[in-house]
Amino acid sequence: MTTDTMIMEVKDFSFTYAGASSPSLKKINLPIEKNKITALIGPSGCGKSTLLRSMNRIHDLYPGNHYEGEIRLYDGDGKGGNILEIKKENDFIKLRQDVGMIFQKPTPFPMSIYDNVAYGLKLAGIKDKSEIQGRVEKALQDAAIWGETKDRLKESAMGLSGGQQQRLCIARAVALKPDVLLFDEPTSALDPISTGAIEELIAELKKDVSIVIVTHNMQQASRLSNYTAFMYLGDLIEYGKTDKIFLNPSVKLTEDYITGRFG
């Protein structure tokens, strides 16, 4: 594996929550491949969400957490800065524009559908109205929600169904043209039909953006992802092509988890 196929690289990364005596993640090493979907799986408490939330440093909303090691985000030339070294407000804003995030529960803002998508663009400093309009429309199309929303853009986003709200949140993230999108169990609060729509959308999105998804749903991981990382109690147990992990895992623990013997 070389750096030109990677968009992100986690190197010897450890993470300790504020006030905790032992780290929740221990010396994790993990590549995130460009334009591929990487699934993080493992039982509750294994650290998969913690790792995902480190990749755009959303942990920094709460004080006292401790990072160690490196998470590199590579640009087109294969050069990568360590995002753990970011200290300045502006660099944080840039990081979050490059690395977007979708949460478990849909999180529409209390404003209109249009403004929900335009909000991130305005935060990014885009002032040109026609540019914003174009990008909002494009993002809603990319998130496969344009058909349902084009006649009600001025209506409150709170009136949409759960599945629609989640696609709106994806549109909001896509509008910023990120390099990486992090999905934190994006369908666990949704019904099967909405889940199907979101999964299709994620598969579609990988053309333009690299994706990391945390999921509890083993079928979802095997259906969607190209690479899978299995984590357990803060350690990365096994990483590889999804087919390999699911059909022929190298580690006994991975096999036990995938076959449902625990977790």
Partner: protein
């Protein structure tokens, strides 16, 4: 047998208590409405106190309550935002929350005395500003606590989502979190306004009262509630009638504000 009897006894006792409680409330409202409406004339609203009306009193009371809100709403909201969003729920926040709760239950006359010592005594007499400050002091803890509570109801994911889009903390708080809590905070502000507009004790020896129309806040300032207190103690029938009329108007104002508050909450939910 025993259980059935107990059940019936408790049902009867609680029904009776409810009837007594509501009965008194109805009695007050009916007496007030009857006496109030009987004493109310068109001239009550067009004349000042000196001519037997309440025009200057209404204007004075609203002026003080609105000015107090202008002071208390920004301070209370910002303090509430500090407590919920910036303090990390540390020791200082705990002390501030307790202080605010104590302030909320402080007897209003004590606040009046405090402001008397602060703004009346040193400035040589009763004045409108002192009344405004006393009302604002009453209002601030209510708004702090409402803001604090309403912000705590905003899901944490919303803050994280704002941050994940590249928002800075203050932008997320002002543009998303406060917006999400807007209905609750607005209702809280309205209810605290309804609370202070009916206050007498904090005004009694701060702004006192004025028989004439004035907008000069350095003078004694006309007050509806203080006038009710004064008028009710006068021996003549006309004064007491005016007190009834003024009480009726005040009750309707408070009722209306409360209803608007409830309406806003309901229509947004």
């Amino acid at each position: 047998m025993n259980r059935l009897f107990l059940n019936k006894a408790i049902l009867m006792l609680s029904t009776l208590s409810a009837v007594i409680g509501l009965g008194f409330l109805l009695w007050i409202l009916i007496t007030l409405s009857y006496k109030g409406i009987m004493s109310l004339h068109w001239s009550t609203f067009t004349n000042d106190l000196v001519e037997g009306g309440i025009r200057n009193l209404l204007v004075g009371q609203f002026t003080m309550a609105l000015m107090a809100s202008a002071i208390a709403v920004p301070i209370g909201m910002l303090a509430g935002i500090y407590l919920r969003e910036y303090s990390n729920n540390g020791k200082l926040a705990a002390v501030m929350r307790n202080l605010s709760d104590v302030m909320m239950s402080a007897p209003s006359i004590v606040i009046g005395v405090f402001v008397f010592a602060l703004l009346v005594d040193p400035f040589g007499g009763y004045n409108g500003w002192a009344g405004i400050v006393a009302l604002a002091i009453m209002m601030i803890p209510i708004i702090i606590s409402t803001t604090d509570n309403m912000l705590s109801l905003v899901p944490q994911e919303l803050r994280e989502a704002g941050m994940a889009l590249g928002g800075s903390k203050h932008k997320i708080i002002l543009q998303i979190v406060v917006k999400a809590a807007k209905v609750g905070i607005t209702t809280g502000v309205l209810l605290s306004f309804a609370r202070i507009i009916g206050e007498t004790a904090p005004l009694l020896f701060t702004s006192a009262n004025n028989q004439f129309f004035t907008m000069d806040l350095t003078e004694q300032f006309p007050s509806l509630t203080v006038s009710i207190y004064n008028l009710a103690t006068y021996p003549d029938e006309a004064s007491r009638e005016l007190a009834w009329a003024a009480s009726f108007v005040l009750t309707m104002v408070v009722l209306l504000i409360n209803l608007v508050g409830r309406f806003i909450t309901r229509s947004k939910k």
